[in-house]
């Protein structure tokens, strides 16, 4: 039996709608589930107090600081390195064996499970370089982990800048560096920003790699060489070791709101940036 085209059309639309609704629905369900259980725990006290009795009581202030430290530093290291690599790959070298190898390497890195990055970070940063279990070790490990994301998204964004812009810039007597910084990066900035936001999201929600490199101290980190715990790891520890489910949900709620906040802020900043440059 053959359906009339109009029926097929209606069927396809209905199918797509159901699938889309299911995707969004699952996301909403997870978020609602955690926020409903977690948000009641989140008080001013919870956000500003130190944890007591291994996190059974008290708040999560040192963990918020640790998260900002580890994630922030990871992205601060990975973003410039990633963007510069992408610039090199797209603007400063012709396609060849070397670019193919770099690109293949980046893609392989992207597919490696985070626990492997954790083990590498433990062996290399923590032991060999003697950084110990510290915010610095954790951040450097995470920066390696998110580097491929930043390289590839930046590369795509840079490649999407029309070749005619480059030609016009050269025609007006710019050097290659002027062309790259003033024309290409400016046009590619929204795409690069998206890559950085993805990298922040991946870093902030990472547990395995952080556990092995940043450690899980509950104290407020006083320096980059202090061990520090991140929100995702705190949630994992509280729930996995049955310490306090209510505080675990509270932590998860803070994490979800933070990620949402970062995304909204980043998109707002990017829109403002685009609006300014046109």
């Amino acid at each position: 039996m053959r359906l009339a085209p109009a029926h097929t059309q209606r069927l396809v639309v209905a199918g797509l709608w159901v699938l889309a609704a299911a995707t969004v629905g699952v996301l909403m369900f997870i978020a609602a589930f955690i926020l409903l259980r977690g948000l009641p725990q989140v008080t001013w006290q919870f956000l500003t107090d130190e944890p007591h009795r291994m996190g059974r009581a008290g708040g999560i202030f040192p963990i918020i600081v640790g998260t900002l430290l580890v994630t922030g530093l990871a992205v601060l290291v990975a973003a410039p390195v990633g963007v510069i690599t992408a610039i090199y790959l797209t603007e400063y070298t012709r396609e060849g064996r070397l670019t193919a190898i770099i690109r293949f390497g980046a893609d392989c890195l992207a597919g490696i499970p985070s626990i492997i990055f954790g083990l590498f970070g433990f062996v290399f940063f923590v032991i060999t370089l003697g950084m110990g279990l510290s915010a610095l070790s954790g951040a450097l490990t995470l920066s390696l982990m998110v580097l491929p994301t930043i390289i590839r998204t930046s590369e795509e964004a840079i490649r999407a800048v029309p070749a005619s812009y480059r030609e016009v810039s050269y025609g007006l007597g710019s050097t290659r560096w002027q062309m790259v910084t003033r024309v290409v990066l400016r046009s590619a900035m929204p795409g690069i920003g998206t890559g950085v936001v993805l990298a922040i999201g991946r870093s902030i929600s990472e547990t395995a790699a952080v556990m092995l490199t940043a450690g899980s101290a509950l104290r407020l980190p006083r320096s980059l060489l202090d061990s520090s715990r991140t929100l995702a790891l705190h949630f994992y520890t509280l729930s996995r070791e049955g310490i306090s489910m209510s505080n675990a949900y509270g932590t998860a709620a803070v994490l979800i709101v933070a990620i949402l906040g970062i995304n909204v802020t980043a998109y707002w900043l990017m829109r403002r940036f685009i609006g300014k440059m046109g």
Partner: protein, 278 residues
């Protein structure tokens, strides 16, 4: 000497230099000399042994059927072909007696001396003002008063000032096609080049916009050498002093436009202008 006095002295020096540079060369003197110039892309010859002169303050039209090497010729003058992988060339292009393919040639400076307008207007995705100030800033100009004066002069020369003077902060992409092309002309003029090369600048424009561009070119003739590539033999006849006819990468004939279009020496030129091919 106080810093102010020093500044004044420097400015006076700059003004003297600028005045010296602005003195028009004696008419008829050779501005560009092309000698035995051949070019190829990836081994495929595009130009074969082309020799011609562009005099100062003359408008030279380059005509010829598609794929005759007109654009390659134009882009060889300011070395834009260098950007295309596989390009190689032999022979000489002399600008004021200096080989532009010489090892000591500053390519960025060369491209400021030879302003270029492309077949399709490519405004950079910024405001009108930013499009015009970009080349000036790349050349090291910092004082905004100076930049604005240059911009106004360039826009007036391109017959665009009256239309955009109140909307310099608008995006260049909002202009009409004809306005965009005049913006691109103004962008090249803002750098006060010595030679202006135009690659079929009116191919996508309506007759009124075309007329405005030609009008602008007529006024500019006294200050610049103009090389105009065109597929439109009528335009060549209207807007040039001499015309060169290229066919399959070879220079068939060059002479006063009036003569070339009425009594060409070569039969192939005659066939082309009377519409027998191409």
């Amino acid at each position: 000497m106080s810093t102010d006095a020093l500044q004044t002295a420097i400015e006076a020096g700059e003004a003297r230099q600028a005045a010296a540079a602005a003195v028009p060369a004696a008419p008829g003197r050779d501005k560009i000399v092309v000698r035995g110039f051949s070019a190829s892309f990836g081994g495929a010859a595009v130009l074969r042994d082309v020799s011609l002169q562009v005099r100062s303050s003359e408008r030279l039209a380059v005509i010829g059927p598609a794929r005759s090497g007109k654009t390659t010729f134009l882009r060889s003058l300011n070395r834009l072909n260098d950007l295309t992988p596989g390009f190689s060339c032999r022979g000489q292009v002399l600008l004021d007696g200096q080989d532009v393919y010489g090892a000591d040639c500053d390519v960025a400076a060369l491209r400021r001396r030879i302003g270029m307008v492309y077949a399709v207007p490519v405004p950079l995705p910024w405001t009108i003002h930013e499009n015009l100030s970009y080349g000036l800033r790349m050349a090291g100009m910092r004082r905004s008063g100076e930049i604005d004066a240059r911009i106004e002069a360039a826009l007036r020369s391109a017959f665009l000032w009256e239309e955009v003077k109140d909307r310099l902060k608008d995006l260049a992409a909002r202009l009409s096609g004809g306005q965009q092309q005049r913006l691109c002309l103004a962008r090249a003029l803002a750098l006060e080049p010595e030679v202006l090369v135009l690659d079929e600048p009116c191919s996508g424009l309506d007759p009124i916009s075309t007329a405005r561009i030609e009008e602008a070119l007529g006024e500019l003739k006294s200050r610049y050498s103009v090389v105009l590539v065109t597929n439109n033999t009528k335009q060549a006849a209207r807007a040039s002093d001499r015309t060169a006819f290229l066919l399959m990468g070879e220079l068939v004939e060059i002479g006063p436009t009036q003569k070339l279009f009425t009594a060409p020496d070569d039969k192939r030129t005659n066939d082309y202008i009377t519409g027998h091919f191409g």
